[in-house]
Symmetry: C2
Subunit: 484 residues, 2 copies
């Protein structure tokens, strides 16, 4: 099989398909009569190159070759996979499939359509066996889901070959076994959309309030478990049938303007409970709760580094607490950290991961810099300290949730240099690790070392004087493997 | 204001409220006549203690005092905030509010109800001004959203005081300005639920397929942007009104069995476009795309460390690629890493963060261990190498997306000890950093050092012999600040 894909239609969706194949090492051949197609695809590719390689912990394959073609016949030549993303008009779709079939009568053809059923696409096709819906979600280069909907005429061989190809570029095809209008996801989205329009029309909530209610609430749940697995947890150990019994009656209440409701009879309850057992029954509710909670912590902490959505709320809480901190005492060792070990800092054994020791020491160094005046405002003005060298000794283990502190001794501070020594201690007093660091003050413009502003030099010198009489810490000045 | 909350009703929701207040330093007084209440709350607290402290990058306040009380009167005594989470029966709610009012006639009372409107709750109340809906989402100790719905009789002072209290424990109250059945979120959820029931009843998809379509697709979008901000991006620079014009017509199509559809007239389109501008107009579409994509990368990489949902898909892709790697050449330096710098490894300036150098060196060490036979299977059998000491020299900067390698030299390997030296190079050849590490083989049972299995000792000795004639790397054996 050649790793060559043809992309017919180069808008945001076609461009997303092109990016996903190209960045996974496939050659991509594009047909789109729009004279702006190169610019449009370049824009999507720029976004994809920014984000997609971050999904892998290996080097990406070398990018494939991207080429543009004047005809469908030329574009699909030699392609092992063809994706159609032309405008949502059935006549254009049919013309496209005919042009593909004329030169590639047995090639695999997926359609990005959300509006048409595969049997509608296949109407009048010379080879209906080659056509199926492969409906992606924007951004196609990041979201894995593909609704794969065959028509009754789609060949099973073709369907399975398409599945393997899509999986190989990181997608997750979900085989929708019966074709219906809008497939599955857009049925759900359309229901939410209609309900949301009513909420806005009736002045119950604004677009922002509705979005906030989603992204601070059930959106976080749905990024990792869906509707049914979430409700399975709500039902507790009694299971899904219990949940249905408890919450099912609300179905009959006139809460919504969308009112055609399936009868929740015993057969439907059993069907759902059985499917839920098959889906999630390998986990106890307690296990599902822990999985859900750790997933949520990792999602929330990711958003926290972005200062976005639910993550921004967490930063607000930290900032409000920081505002009430007392001024640091600079006479003795400087307290530069006091926190718990979060769940995203531990390995599969529950111990803090090696690199998070440096994460903690780096944050402690940032706090020390802030204390001497090298704060956000100063850094924005163009100066900062960069770490040149680090020496860490791992002395004891620490588990998730453990409370620990870092106290910092200034071994030397003057001119461009700052030499500091961090002691990380469990709150019970155990020394967990030490971090010795040499930093250089740099100009963020030239990236070269230079002296800091006078107020910083003065504050650092004050702390260095205060610490001058302290004994040299055990382990400082040591090379790797050097005896005590 | 005392930091004391009363929790009336101690199920999963009441327990979640108790945990959120308690772990944020509030005293919590619980009333629930269920003899199993302590066990139920202990279970929620165990989950909350596992996860909630991970949301903060500061030490948590000291946990408040948790107490159980035999009467509502005793439980609410001295409470600045009272949360009602009793069963969803209006008569029980009314009795509860009357009992609260008898001893706390002006206290703030939030209700967890999803099924009743605040004016229904306030029927017959002595002081309707003190009652409002504060509807949380499970797990209450992690999800920030609270639908805060006052009745017309709720006092604005009370409402605002409640908002400040809830914000102080990390919640995000959304003020729903008009009361309706089921508030806002459950209207949206109910619409999805009804549509999903049809999909299952009609055998279109199973519970698992529906969940997968959500969590591999739009659920990831909704964890960070909601419905409208996502669609704003789909509309492109032309904005929300353009999106409505493009996709609005589908509203009238018979895609769903839920069919009462608001008329999408000019007034409703303008209302939505204006609200969307107010919500997101400070960002260009290009900026929103980048924010969305980086958010998605961080969510996906968080799930990858959990090997769950969309993150498990990413691990599958990495594993499949690894299976095709050639066997490592052990004669020269050992290639232990070849990857790109992902977006979650960089700081706000776009440079790789200090601690991620150790992350990369740690992963390279893991790979080296795997190569000498200390792989997953061996570790599961009870032996591993722990890092005792690390020395890092930061020599050059590297940006997001950059491709780099790590090559590893074995300086010494024998007995319990392994002394290795990593060179991290940009693919253009620049030396970015070096990492020198001393590791000790340990028994994972005793956590004490001990010799490795013979096959590992032999393989390590073979590499050490191969490397014995290589020159000592520049920078090896150096202490911090020691000249070259």
């Amino acid at each position: 099989m050649t790793k060559t894909a043809a992309i017919i239609g180069g808008g945001v969706i076609g461009g997303g398909w092109a990016a996903r194949f190209l960045l996974n090492g496939w050659d991509v051949r594009v047909f789109d009569p729009d004279p702006k197609v190169k610019r449009k695809i370049d824009e999507v590719l720029a976004n994809a190159r920014h984000a997609l390689p971050s999904l892998s912990d290996r080097v990406m394959p070398r990018e494939g070759r991207l080429s543009y073609h004047d005809t469908i016949a030329e574009a699909v030549s030699g392609a092992s996979y063809i994706q159609e993303s032309v405008p949502e008009r059935l006549d254009i779709k049919h013309t496209t499939f005919a042009a593909i079939n004329a030169v590639a009568p047995n090639a695999i053809v997926g359609s990005s359509t959300s509006g048409f059923k595969p049997s509608q696409l296949a109407q009048g096709a010379k080879n209906a066996a080659q056509i199926m819906v492969c409906h992606p979600f924007n951004p196609v280069y990041l979201l894995p889901v593909i609704e794969m909907v065959p028509s009754p005429a789609t060949s099973e061989t073709t369907l399975n070959a398409a599945k393997e190809i899509l999986k190989s570029v990181g997608l997750k095809p979900i085989h929708v076994r019966r074709e219906i209008d809008a497939h599955v996801a857009d049925r759900l989205l359309e229901a939410v959309w209609r309900e949301a329009l009513w909420l806005i029309k009736d002045d119950i909530a604004t677009t922002e309030e509705i979005d906030d209610i989603i992204r601070y609430g059930f959106g976080l749940r749905w990024a990792q478990m869906g509707l049914f697995e979430t409700y399975r947890i709500a039902g507790g150990e009694a299971g899904m049938a219990h949940f249905m019994a408890q919450f099912g009656p609300a179905l009959a209440w006139p809460w919504t303007k969308l009112m055609d409701v399936p009868e929740l009879d015993d057969a439907l309850v059993k069907k759902i409970a059985d499917q839920s057992d098959a889906q999630s029954g390998m986990y106890s509710i307690r296990e599902l709760e822990r999985i859900r909670d750790t997933n949520l912590v990792k999602i929330l902490r990711g958003l926290k580094t972005q200062n976005w959505g639910a993550g921004a709320i967490l930063n607000n809480v930290d900032s409000a607490a920081k505002d009430t901190d007392p001024a640091p005492d600079l006479k003795g060792l400087v307290r530069t950290m006091h926190r718990n070990v979060p769940l995203d800092w531990i390995d599969y054994n529950g111990h803090m991961t090696e690199s998070r020791y440096l994460h903690a020491f780096g944050d402690a160094t940032d706090r020390f810099m802030e204390i001497i005046g090298c704060d956000g405002e100063y850094i924005a003005s163009g100066g900062s300290y960069f770490t040149a060298e680090t020496h860490i000794r791992h002395l004891d283990e620490v588990h998730a949730g453990a409370e620990f502190t870092i106290d910092t001794q200034c071994l030397m501070g003057g001119g461009k240099k700052m030499h500091i020594f961090h002691r990380m201690r469990h709150i019970d007093g155990r020394l967990l690790a030490t971090g010795e660091h040499m930093l250089l003050h740099v100009s963020l413009e030239t990236r070269q070392s230079c002296p800091p502003a006078p107020h910083i030099e003065a504050k650092l010198a004050e702390i260095a004087r205060n610490h001058a009489d302290m004994p040299m810490p055990e382990g400082a000045g040591r090379a790797i493997g050097q005896g005590r």
